[in-house]
């Protein structure tokens, strides 16, 4: 049934094809915002939100504007503009409606525009759930699910990394490895652990 397709997408995005640990999408914020657990959680929430809605909006734009006009080759440029203006819009709304939320999430929003994970998931949605110009069955719901859980996978990796890095601050790490280098080694070992999900079939 279709349920299997959804579960497969979820497991794939969170574990098997985790955006950070296996696709390397969103590495810059992963390295930049993973020093403290609290900011990792806020960043994760912001990314999940932006990714899910961007996934939905770009799907609609692709299906109802680009495909009918036969200009699917403008996908990249359209998507990046849609994402950038959407993030800008969210920033303005949050600033107006909830200054508290703005203080918690606001500083992460501009960072998200140039986060390759967001553009990555929207492009991946089209690649996976369109055959040529034709949407596969449940294409929209699958795209939204994929976007949401790609964000969840991103947040999971970010959260684990931030915990480990907080713990490592007290360590006698060799000088050359302090900072970004050790973060990559940790990510490598995490990715190694997640390789256990290789060949997952539900």
């Amino acid at each position: 049934m279709e349920l299997t397709a959804f579960i497969t997408v979820i497991i794939s995005m969170v574990f098997v094809n985790n955006f950070i640990l296996s696709k390397f999408l969103g590495l810059c914020p992963f390295l930049g915002v993973s020093k403290k657990t609290s900011s990792a959680v806020s960043m994760g929430a912001a990314v999940i939100f932006v990714m899910t809605l961007s996934g939905a909006i770009t799907w609609l734009v692709y299906r109802f504007i680009l495909v009918p006009l036969d200009i699917t080759y403008l996908r990249t440029i359209t998507f990046i503009l849609v994402i950038a203006s959407f993030v800008q819009f969210v920033e303005m709304v949050i600033l107006k409606k909830s200054p508290v939320l703005y203080r918690a999430l606001g500083i992460y929003l501009p960072l998200i525009t140039t986060n390759c994970a967001v553009l990555g998931v929207t492009v991946l949605n089209i690649d996976n759930f369109f055959k040529g110009a034709q949407a596969v069955p449940y294409s929209f719901l699958l795209s939204v699910t994929q976007s949401f859980f790609a964000g969840v996978g991103f947040t999971l990796a970010l959260l684990l990394m931030s915990g480990i890095r907080e713990k490592l601050q007290l360590n006698d790490t060799p000088k050359a490895f302090q900072g970004v280098a050790i973060a990559f080694v940790i990510a490598s070992l995490m990715s190694l652990a997640f390789m256990g999900f290789q060949g997952f079939r539900f």
């Binding site: 915990g163 790490t173 060799p174 080694v185 940790i186």
Partner: protein
């Protein structure tokens, strides 16, 4: 020397066991399982064990020299890592496998993080995962028990179960065989009886507590019983799930490693339950027949977060 004047914060507890003594006790507790492995798989396994331990010691010495640290080889930690790695290898691997593995364990998984007690991931398991992904053919060619010197290859029970869909009697085995180690598998994981004897020693000496192993067995057993591989509900074989793979070795000797497991009891129970769940998921739906190493590694990554949410609040501190 300047360290001698640093006074740490109270309470100043003193314990008569030094870290090194604990490590050597764990080493000792693992010896029976190794002897059993030797008896079952023959002298090839002895060479694997020696190669793993020696190269672990050499790597540790080289890196400590490079980093300009005191050469503390006899704290036993490098030797124990080598031994555990060897226990997680098939008996007939070419000898460069344990050498490369020990190098990875000590250099990448341990020393880059600052050395003893600072590693986030269990070094032996990280090395095993690295070897399994890099050289899968060597790492999944198992010798048939008592077939040395010209070893005949065989599959592990979990492999036969997953790929061949066989049950225990179709494999020509009994629970008793699984308990005594008369089956294909890694050098140190097959002899369940010997592993349990070692575990009992560590529990009696209060070196390990039962929180992690028990919660590991409970969650793995429960999920395997509820969702059996061939469909149906609540008909799975619990005893097979626990005896057939590397869970006994993993749960008692590797998941309990001090520096890579949670501090509090509550945290340890969460850790054990998580290990069991991931082992079950990988065995049931993953590509690999066994998931103990990967599960413990995944839960290792969760430890700092688990600790953060389970350590008691300091009295008077605000959240």
């Amino acid at each position: 020397m300047s360290d001698m004047f640093v006074v740490s914060t109270s309470p100043h507890l003193r314990h008569k066991d030094s870290i090194s003594k604990i490590i050597w006790m764990v080493f000792l507790a693992l010896v029976p399982a190794g002897l059993a492995g030797l008896y079952i798989f023959g002298p090839a396994s002895l060479w694997v064990i020696i190669a793993a331990i020696l190269s672990a010691l050499v790597t540790e010495a080289l890196i400590l020299l490079l980093r300009g640290k005191k050469l503390r080889l006899f704290d036993g930690s490098a030797a124990l890592t080598g031994l555990l790695l060897a226990y997680n290898l098939p008996s007939d691997v070419p000898l460069w496998i344990p050498v490369v593995g020990s190098f990875f364990a000590i250099a990448i998984a341990k020393q880059i993080f600052g050395g003893l007690g600072r590693n986030i991931f269990n070094p032996a398991l990280a090395a095993r995962a690295f070897l399994l992904i890099s050289w899968p053919t060597y790492m999944t060619t198992w010798a048939k028990p008592f077939s040395y010197p010209d070893a005949i290859s065989s599959a592990t029970p979990l492999n036969l179960f997953k790929e061949g869909g066989m049950n225990l009697s179709q494999m020509g085995l009994s629970y008793w065989d699984l308990f005594l180690g008369n089956r294909g598998g890694c050098i140190g994981e097959v002899a369940v009886a010997a592993l349990l004897a070692g575990a009992l020693l560590l529990i009696a000496l209060k070196i390990i507590s039962l929180h992690i192993p028990l919660s590991y067995f409970i969650s793995l057993g429960l999920f395997s019983w509820l969702f059996p591989a061939r469909g149906g509900f609540a008909t799975g074989d619990i005893l097979f799930a626990i005896l057939a793979g590397g869970v006994i070795l993993g749960a008692f000797f590797m998941a309990t490693d001090y520096s890579t497991s949670p501090l509090t009891r509550k945290g340890q129970i969460i850790f054990g339950l998580g290990c069991g769940l991931f082992t079950f998921i990988i065995r049931r739906w993953g590509g690999y027949p066994e998931g103990v190493s990967f599960s413990i590694l995944i839960m290792n990554a969760f430890v700092p977060i688990i600790d953060r949410f389970t350590t008691p609040r300091v009295y008077g501190a605000k959240k």
